[in-house]
Symmetry: C2
Subunit: 333 residues, 2 copies
């Protein structure tokens, strides 16, 4: 009998909220690698909101996740067999191996990692795609300048936490929006935001007004919905909006912008973006983020599901905001 590993495939598309039944855990044989290929033992899987979008069969920036195929996902792991001279057994790598304990690659889109000063898992978070998403939105779209006020939703998450910390390093007033007292305390006390609004209690508009006395110069939007409209009501002239996500609508809910009047009257620039389309800036961004993490100037937390079987529940929790910081799945004992 060959060695086996586990993977999770998309069993069915959700109608509304994601359920555990949308996924299926499978045990499959470890493949034999061909010339030029490597076999990777994944250590961590990244869970990210974009996966919810791919589960639907709608026009989007990327093809939908195929049914009965391994769920898409970023992974970090270790080379355990190599027929590719560019990778040696023991090399740590990041790739898109999906929701699976192992994966085969010809080296395309596989990148070797240096874990001397940066923990392996951080390459899926602050020094990876979420960190780059924050860095790109803040530096390229929001162009946040010293003294300006920025607001970021999902502020305790993998992306939002980096947006606010980078804004503080630039001398901005950073205001977060998050759900629950624990997350807000973390955002202010550990991450150093100036304020964090708990959208689950009190009046959102009043809290936002108190936290942004000089209005809002730039928004990093992860959520959409009521909190985005409340932010729009307070934008200053020439505000910039990095539209990164609208997670409030991913389950088929309303994705309207009701306060669109402000886009016009305040001459706002709004830009939707997908970080994988800006690969030219990754070397610069990741270098800056890596230095900040190594110097402990950029802090992060992780919520780690214990094994692949726990991934669906962790993913559903992520969509409901149950995680704090970067949501990962541990794939090794």
């Amino acid at each position: 009998m060959n060695a086996q590993y586990q993977r999770i495939v998309l069993a069915s598309r959700p109608s509304g909220e994601v359920t555990p039944e949308n996924f299926r855990l499978e045990t499959v044989p470890v493949p034999t690698i061909a010339d030029g290929q490597v076999l990777i033992r994944n250590h961590f899987l990244s869970l990210d909101p974009y996966m919810r979008v791919r589960m639907d069969d709608v026009k989007n920036y990327a093809a939908p996740q195929a049914l009965n195929e391994t769920m898409i996902g970023g992974t970090v792991g270790e080379i355990v067999a190599s027929n590719n001279p560019q990778f040696q057994i023991g090399d740590k790598v990041i790739g898109m191996m999906g929701w699976a304990e192992m994966g085969v690659s010809d080296g395309t889109l596989l990148r070797k990692l240096d874990t001397t000063h940066i923990p392996l898992s951080a390459y899926l978070g602050a020094v990876g795609m979420p960190g780059m998403t924050a860095w790109y939105g803040l530096t390229q779209i929001m162009q946040a300048k010293e003294g300006e006020t920025i607001v970021v939703s999902a502020a305790s998450g993998a992306v939002g936490s980096v947006v606010g910390q980078l804004a503080k390093l630039r001398g901005c007033r950073a205001v977060g929006i998050a759900g629950g007292a624990e997350k807000c305390a973390y955002v202010v006390n550990e991450l150093g935001f100036d304020a964090c609004i708990d959208y689950k209690v009190g009046n959102l508009e009043d809290q936002l007004a108190a936290a942004t006395p000089n209005g809002i110069d730039a928004i990093f939007e992860n959520v959409g919905g009521a909190s985005f409209d409340a932010c729009l009501a307070r934008v200053n002239p020439f505000a910039r909006i990095a539209l990164c996500g609208m997670i409030a609508g991913y389950d088929g809910g309303d994705m309207s912008i009701h306060n669109a009047r402000m886009l016009l009257s305040m001459r706002v620039t709004l830009r939707g973006f997908i970080i994988s389309e800006h690969l030219d800036l990754w070397p610069q961004g990741l270098r800056e983020l890596g230095i900040l993490v190594a110097q402990n100037k950029l802090k992060f937390r992780e919520s780690i599901a214990p094994n692949l079987a726990a991934a669906p529940e962790a993913f559903i929790g992520l969509l409901k905001g149950k995680n704090l910081g970067k949501q990962l799945v541990r794939l090794i004992p």
Copy 2:
């Protein structure tokens, strides 16, 4: 008895739709001009949708129109008395003299006009603020390129008509949206758009799909509402949107963008703008527009109300889309 002239002041703010009672026609004495001032006899008043926004007392890019003061508005006219060495009697000028037959100015924001090749009224239209609005949106925000498909709403209006013609000159496919068969025929047959969709008949989505077989690369939005959402549903990746107006919501109606999902999934750049904030580009834009009008490569029509007393009705008609082309008010017999 001194000579007198007529003006129209804002009598009350509208609650919802504008009514004639929101205005008051007054007869006032012609003032004596001081040192440095000129007296202008206005020939034409420009009526524009932005005036509706100023009639409300809400946070906006400019202060609200004051009650009991002359309504704001652009005018072209002739110097009839001058204590300013820069202006001679008989000079044709453009300024912001408001809804009034005469006006006094110290020369600030007053510009002399050359009517050798361009009719005076065109400086309020294709070679004026509406033309510049179209030029800026198309060249600076939409950055329309040869072979791309652009869509413009209120396509038969003073701004929309220029957007489409400039797009055609750049080799784009230009699609208009307008209300009624007469306007659509004008847009296609006289202005040379590739297609024009009558939003008052048939299914908007189906017509738009037929007119934009390759999707939409850029939108010039004057209206908002259902037609904007229908356009958003067909945008291509990296579409650009010049958000110039949302006239569908100016009377207090819904200004939501319901299809905001597309802003994210298609990585759209949307920018609200006010042409008066980009004065640095006016010389370049007006020069280009003036040449095109003088060469008859840029066509326009005008709807002209016969006198100042007819201005309120003409303005209300403009907001309801009753005009074709540039809406003016004639102020001389």
